[in-house]
């Protein structure tokens, strides 16, 4: 009996000293990986036109558009990775050229989430837009707005000038027409 126990203990100790076979984290190595593998999306918010077509065609409604504080090009897709079936139709219909704003092909295959409920709930591809981009876009729009305003003012001034000239011309008109009338 005692011998038996000692034998078992010896075996366990020896087994513990053996090198582990599973030394590679296979979650991050694919046996076969194609260049166009439809994996996790990448969304390029600088290219995206915010046209909404990807959200429209998505057969499982996994895409929602995040509203941005701009006047134009003001939405960007966010993908629910748990709902998504990775069919790639969003990439097909994306109208931007030459680079697609939303892309799956060549995307990550090791899409892993944590085990908790909260992890599952937040298993989304968020837009994650840097503040600097928002600031620069806002500044751009502000600049455009100012420019437009200036142009509008200029135009107004021009129009006022023209109106003044026209009024002056009208003032002179009767004479001119009178002269013409005499001629005929």
């Amino acid at each position: 009996m005692l011998l038996h126990i000692i034998q078992k203990m010896f075996r366990v100790v020896r087994a513990l000293r053996q090198p582990r076979l599973a030394t590679q984290d296979v979650r991050h190595h694919a046996v076969h990986l194609s260049a166009n593998y439809r994996g996790q999306h990448t969304v390029d918010h600088e290219v995206c036109t915010g046209c909404d077509i990807c959200a429209d065609i998505c057969p499982v409604n996994a895409i929602t558009m995040l509203k941005l504080p701009f006047k134009r090009r003001n939405t960007v897709p966010e993908v629910n990775l748990a709902t998504c079936i990775y069919c790639g139709l969003c990439e097909d219909v994306c109208p931007t050229k030459p680079e697609k704003a939303i892309k799956l092909s060549g995307g990550r295959f090791d899409i892993l989430t944590g085990g908790s409920h909260a992890d599952q709930e937040s298993f989304w591809l968020r837009a994650n837009i840097p503040q600097s981009y928002i600031d620069s876009r806002l500044a751009e729009e502000e600049a455009a707005r100012v420019k437009k305003e200036m142009e509008a003012k200029k135009k107004e001034a021009l129009a006022a000038e023209e109106a003044r000239l026209a009024a002056e011309a009208e003032h002179a008109q009767p004479v001119a027409s009178g002269a013409e009338g005499e001629k005929s």
């Binding site: 076969h32 194609s34 593998y37 057969p59 079936i85 069919c87 790639g88 799956l104």
Partner: protein, 546 residues
């Protein structure tokens, strides 16, 4: 064909015209003529009534029933339409099940989903739909799915109550001698999500009643909520084993209604992708057959070879199983020549393993002696029960849609029917294996054709992949058939003008009729025959339930 057309025109029909190369399409003015017409068709050799497909037109207050009669031997088919009233009380028509046993479950399905009552049906019970949908007829237009989904908890409780009722009945029967009800599945290793209620006396089977619908997803309804391209993702999920051929079938129907032929290059690509799908599916089916006999080695070996073909699908489309690679208008991606090299490597892998498959499994004496005596299907059973595909060919019936009504570029392919004589479980397994060999041959022909075409400039792999299909289709309907890995897959697509979604899609899948056969094949046999017969029928619950 002319004779068939004359025959149908002799009844009260408002239209009767040839449709495609082997169909006569006719519309009956009244349902009174249905029985006499069906009898005449049966006497003329059209012995398989493969399905009945209702289409709901609430605006005209009518349901249109489409009957599809087929003659597997002479390739003459008839598509008969008849209108019935839409109100639930008046929504009835004489049943054709007494004449055509093949339509039994299809009539039950039409009853469950549309509420059509078939007068004279031997057992008009609900099928496929879950308990919570009974009496609600979910495929009718105007069924409020959201209101139904809102009572999720109650719906699930309803399903559980159904099981409890049945359990109580079985319990009451227990203890009376050796007569009992045994549930084979849905968690049996060989069953898949399907349950056979097996009435046994000791080891002898008295009757088998399949309980199906465990994976009913309402795919035919789901496509009605998607556009013509988005519908693909529902269609390819009929069955994960062979996913390309189902998409070919749907794409053909859309192209027919849109009136846009696809390019020769896309047709040849469809042949290639379709055959890859068939090989992938067959390799799994081969393993499944031996699996049910308790030998898993073949499954492992076959799955190993299958991976190489999945690599090809991944290289082409970016996904291994749900490829979504065939769109209406052609094929979704252009072809890179490197793909053909990968495919050749996969074929070489199969050919290197093939002799071992044969030596160890196909010529296996135990299998040979065990499987030759069970599950025998005669040619008459095939013709009367609407069986198709491998099951039909193993009984010596020459049917193969690739040859009967060539689609894609199968007319350019040199191939024959793969037949066996006796129709036993062993024959079905052998035909399955022969078809893998045949598919390899077709793949080689397709590769050679693609190479030749690209070199000579006939095919432009970048530009020819897709033809533009408009977002909205005109009013129309089409029937499209392909030879799926498990047999004939038929889709009946109805579209309405200025709709961006399919109006109605009926999918006729082969597993329905094959599962229906279980009762005939197993009655009087012993319990140990169930896995073998079930495994040899090559059933997939995905396309059974849809």
């Amino acid at each position: 064909m002319q004779q068939l057309q004359n025959l149908i025109a002799g009844f009260n029909v408002s239209s009767c015209e040839p449709y495609k190369q082997c169909w006569i399409k006719a519309k009956l003015t009244t349902q009174d003529d249905l029985i006499s017409l069906a009898t005449a068709l049966k006497a003329n050799g059209l012995t398989s009534l493969i399905t009945v497909s209702p289409t709901d037109f609430p605006d005209d207050n009518r349901l249109e029933l489409n009957y599809f009669f087929e003659d597997l031997l002479t390739r003459r088919n008839a598509w008969i339409k008849v209108d019935i009233p839409r109100e639930l009380d008046a929504c009835q028509i004489p049943s054709l099940t007494p004449l055509f046993p093949s339509v039994n479950w299809h009539e039950r399905e039409a009853f469950s989903t549309f509420g059509v009552r078939f007068i004279g049906h031997p057992a008009l019970e609900d099928i496929f739909i879950s308990e919570d949908f009974i009496g609600k007829f979910p495929f009718r237009k105007g069924f409020d799915w959201q209101a139904h989904e809102a009572n999720l908890i109650e719906n699930m409780a309803c399903i559980v109550r159904g099981f409890e009722r049945e359990h109580a009945i079985n319990d009451a029967r227990m203890g009376k001698g050796s007569h009992t009800t045994l549930n084979w599945g849905p968690t049996h290793p060989a069953s898949g999500p399907l349950r056979l209620r097996v009435e046994v006396n000791g080891e002898d089977i008295i009757s088998v009643k399949p309980d199906v619908g465990y994976v009913w997803r309402g795919l035919e309804h789901l496509v009605e909520g998607k556009d013509f391209v988005g519908a693909l993702v529902a269609i390819e999920r009929i069955c994960f084993m062979d996913n390309t051929n189902a998409m070919i079938c749907y794409a053909q129907a859309v192209e027919e209604i849109a009136g846009k032929p696809i390019t020769p290059f896309a047709s040849m690509m469809r042949v290639m992708l379709g055959e890859i799908g068939r090989v992938v599916s067959h390799l799994m089916g081969i393993g499944g057959f031996f699996n049910t006999m308790g030998l898993v080695t073949l499954q492992m070996w076959a799955l190993d070879v299958r991976e190489y073909f999945l690599d090809v699908l991944e290289d082409y489309s970016g996904a291994r199983i749900a490829t979504a690679s065939i769109e209406p208008g052609g094929v979704r991606y252009p072809l890179k020549l490197a793909l053909l090299v990968t495919l050749e490597a996969a074929i070489a892998k199969y050919e290197a393993t093939r002799s071992e498959f044969y030596a160890i499994f196909i010529n296996n004496p135990t299998m040979q002696s065990r499987a030759t005596v069970v599950g025998i299907i005669t040619p008459e059973m095939v013709l009367n029960n609407g069986l198709c595909g491998v099951v039909a060919r193993a009984s010596g019936v020459k049917t193969d849609i690739r040859l009967d009504e060539p689609y894609a570029a199968y007319d350019k392919i040199n191939m024959t029917y793969m037949l066996a004589e006796q129709g036993s479980a062993k024959n079905r397994f052998e035909v399955l294996f022969k078809e893998v060999d045949q598919s390899m041959d077709i793949l080689k022909q397709a590769i050679a054709d693609l190479r030749r075409g690209i070199e000579s400039g006939e095919y432009r792999p970048e530009k020819d992949a897709m033809v533009r299909i408009p977002k909205k289709l005109p009013d129309g309907e089409a029937v499209s058939r392909v030879e799926w890995s498990r047999g004939e897959l038929m889709m009946h697509l109805v579209t309405r003008k200025s709709d961006e979604t399919p109006y109605r899609l009926k999918i006729k899948a082969p597993s329905v009729n094959h599962t229906m056969m279980l009762e005939t094949l197993l009655a009087g046999k012993t319990l140990s025959d169930i896995p073998l017969v079930f495994g040899s029928l090559y059933i997939c619950q995905g396309d059974l339930d849809r």
